[in-house]
Amino acid sequence: MKLTFWNTTVTGIALLLAIPLLVVVANVFVPAGEVWQHLAATVLQDYVVNSLLLMVGVAIGSLLLGVGTAWLVSMTEFPGRRLFEWALLLPMAIPAYIIAYTYTGMLDFAGPVQTTLRELTGWGYGDYWFPEVRSLEGAAIMLSLVLYPYIYLLARAAFLSQSLCVLEVSRSLGNGPWRTFFTVALPLARPAIAAGLSLVLMETLADYGTVQYFGVSTFTTGIFRTWYGLDNAPAAAQLAAMLLVFVVVLVTLERSSRRKARYHKTGRGQQVLTRLPLTGWGRMAATLFCFATLLFGFLLPAGQLASWTLETYQAVVDRRFMALVFNTLELASLATLLALLLALLLNYGRRLQPTRTVRFAVRVASMGYAIPGTVIAVGVVIPFGWFDNTLDSWMREQFAISTGLLLSGTIAALLFAYLVRFLAVSLHAVETGLERITPSMDEAARAMGERPLGILGRIHIPMLKGSLLTALLLVFVDVLKELPATLILRPFNFNTLAVRAYELAADERLADAASAALAIVIAGLIPVILLSRSISQTRQESPSS
C-alpha cells in the first residue's frame, strides 16, 4: 500500500478510535484473580439473567408500541393521524434515566398519584397495594416508552414503501384487510422491524441511569460496581467484554436485517396508498392508542418536569447552575466540532481514495455507536492511566520530574470517549450529504474550467451546509444526554447537566433535578424536529416522483 495523506490520516484516526475496544478485548486475557471468581460465584448470574429479562421486556413493550403505532399512522385513517405521525417521535427526546426518575416521583408514596388515591379513598399507609415502579418490570416499561420510536420510524418507512400492488394482489386473492396485514404487510416489514428492535436492544444494554436508579443489577451497573467498589480494572474490562458479546450479536442482527430490508422493498411507493378508513370503535381505539403512547411517553413526564421546574427553579438556577450549563455547552461544542472535523476527513478520504483499507478504516471508526458508554469509558481509563504512569515514572527516572496525570481525569479523556461513541452519527450525516454530490458533478465543474478549491467553494460547501448542520446538532444533543461515560471520565468536580440531574435524583431531590433534566429534554427535541421534517418531506415528494 502506498502511503498518501489520505490513507495515513484515515487509518490513523481509525486506529486511535479503536483503542478502547482493543483494550477491553485484550483484558480478557489478563488474570483478574479472586475478584473474578468472586463475581462468578455471586453476582454474575444476576447480571446475565437481569440483562436478558430486561431485553425481553423492552422488546415486547417497544414492539407493541412501535409496530402498532407505525401501522396505524401509515396504513389507516383516523382523527389526529397527521399529528401523531410526527408527535410519536417526541419520546425520543427524553433520556431513559430522566423518564425513570420522573415516574418515580409521580408514583411513589408521597407522589401526586398515591396522594390523590389516598385522599379519594381515605386509605392510609399500608392499606393498599400499589405497583412498585422501581423494579425490573418498571425499568422495562420506562425503556420501552422512550425507545419504541426507533421501531416506529423504521417500521413506518417499511409500511409506506410497500407497493400498493402487493397489498392489492392479496386483496384480489380474497384476503381481507386484517389478513393482508398479518400475511403480507407484516412479514414484508419484518426486516425493518428487526433492525429497529436491535437498535432498541443496544440502547437497553447501554443503559446505566435507569437500572442503577431502580436498583436492578445488570452488566452496566456491575461494571461500575467492580470498578469503583472492588477497584479491579481487569475484572471490569472482562465484564465489559461479556457485554460486548451481546452487542456483537445485536449488531450482526441489525446489519443482516438491513440487508434483507433492501430485498424486501417491493416497490418505489410511487402510488399513494389508499388508507384503510377506520370506523366507529376502531377509529376511537386507534386515536386512543396513539394518544396514550404519546401521553405516557412524553406529555406526562415532560409536564411533570415542567411543573417541578416551575416550583424549584428560583432556588436551583443560580450561578453554579449557570456554570454547569456553560461546562456542558463547552464540552458538547468541543466534541461536536471535533467529531465534524474527523467526519469530514474520513469521508473525504474515502471519496478521494476509496481503497479497501480506507473503507475498512472508516467502518472501524463508526463502530462506537453500538458500544455502551460504560464499556468505552473502561477502555479509555485503562490505556490513559497506563500512559500517564509510564510517562511519569520514565520522566522521574530520567529527569527527576513528576508529570503526574496528564490525560486521565481531563477533558481530553472525556472528549476522546465522546468521539469514539458518537463519531458514527456525524460520519453518517456527512456521508448522506456527500453522496448527493456525484463524482460527475465534480468532473462537470472541472470540464468547465474550475479548480479543486473552486469546486469546494462553489459546489461542495453550499451543497453540504445542511448536512454539516445536522451532524453538528445530532452529536451536540447526544453528548448533552450522555451519562455513564461522563460519570466515569469527568475531571474531579466537573459536572454536566446530565451528571447533575442524575446526582440530584440519586439523592431523592427529584424536583431539584428537574431544571437540568428539562434543559436536556428541550435540547433533545432538536433531533426529533429534524427527523419529523424529513418525514414531512418524504410525504410531499412521494406523490409527484
Partner: protein, 349 residues
Amino acid sequence: MKMQLEVKEAAVAYDGNTVIEGVNFALQPGEIGCLLGPSGCGKTSLLRAIAGFEPLARGAIRLHDKTVSQPGNSLATEQRRVGMVFQDFALFPHLSVAKNVAFGLKKQSPAEREQRVTELLQLVGLEHLREAHPHQLSGGQQQRIALIRAMAPRPDILLMDEPFSSMDAELREQLAREVRELLKRDGITAILVTHDQLEAFAMADVIGVVGHGELHQWGSGYEIYHQPVNRFVADFIGQGVMLPGEVISTSQVKTELGIIEGPIPSGCKPDCKIELLIRPDDVIHDDASELQLEVKARAFRGAEYLYTLALPSGQTLLCLVQSHHNHQVGERIGIRLDVEDLALFSQQT
C-alpha cells in the same frame, strides 16, 4: 485541413490492466464523431482520457493543435477547454438553471455572461425556466440544460457520455436529431459515446466501432453497416447472416444462391473459402424470381416484415419486405439478391 482532435495509438489502463489500446482517429472542426460499442468495451475510458480525467498509458491526444495527453504528461481537465455532458447530467442541484449554464463563464463580464445564457436558453426554448431549479425540470429539459451548460464556454470539443440513455426510446431519437442540429448550427466539434446504433446513426458524421478494448473501424454509418472490416463489426451492427461461398475470380463469389458479382477486396485469392455477409435489405422480394424459398418465421415491424427464409441446405436468410406483402409461415416466396458491397470473411472452422 487542420484536425480539431487527433488520437494517436492511444491506450488507457487502470492499475496496469489495459482497457483499450491502439486507438487512432481524428475529427475535423465541426465534425460529430461517435464511439459505438457494447458496455464495458472501453469507449467511456477513451472519452474520459480525451476529457483529461484519465491519463494515457501510451500514445497521444492532440486537441486544437496542442498535445494535451501523453504518458506521464497530462494537461488538467480544467485547462483543456473541453465541454462534457454526463450520463446523469450532473446538474448542480443548489443552483438555478441560469446559474448552472453560467457556471463555466467565469472570465466574462456579467453582461456578457447574461447575454450568453439568454442566447443559449432561447436556442433550446427554455427561457421561461431560467430561475427554476434542476429538480423541477423533466428529463428532456435537464438534458438540454446539461448540453447548453457544456456549450456555454465555447469549448474546443464537446464530449457526451451516453447522454440519452436515461430517456425513453421515442424521446431519444428526437433529442438526438435536435442536438445534432444545435451542434451543426454552432459548428461545434463533438464526440458521443453510446451503445445504441440508431442513436449513433442519427447523431454522428463518423462512427468508430469499439469492442474488446480496441477500435475496429472508423467510418460513416453506411460503411460500418455495409462494409464491416471484421466479424465483430458485422455482428454488432444491424442484422444479417453469413453465407458460405468460394471466390472464383477477381470479381465473383460462388454461393448456394448462385454467383454474386462485385469488387472483391484484395487479399482474397480465387479458390479461397469465404463467408459473405448478407444484410436483410440485400435480399429483395420479387414474385417473378425463379428463386423460391420457404418462410420459416416472420416478425411484424409495422412498415415491414422481417422474414426468415430457409435455403435447401438448411442455411437461413433474412429478408425485409414491405408489410402489405403478407405471407404465412410455410409459404414459398420469390427473392433475388442485390448486394452492392461484398463483405467477405474467412470461413470459421
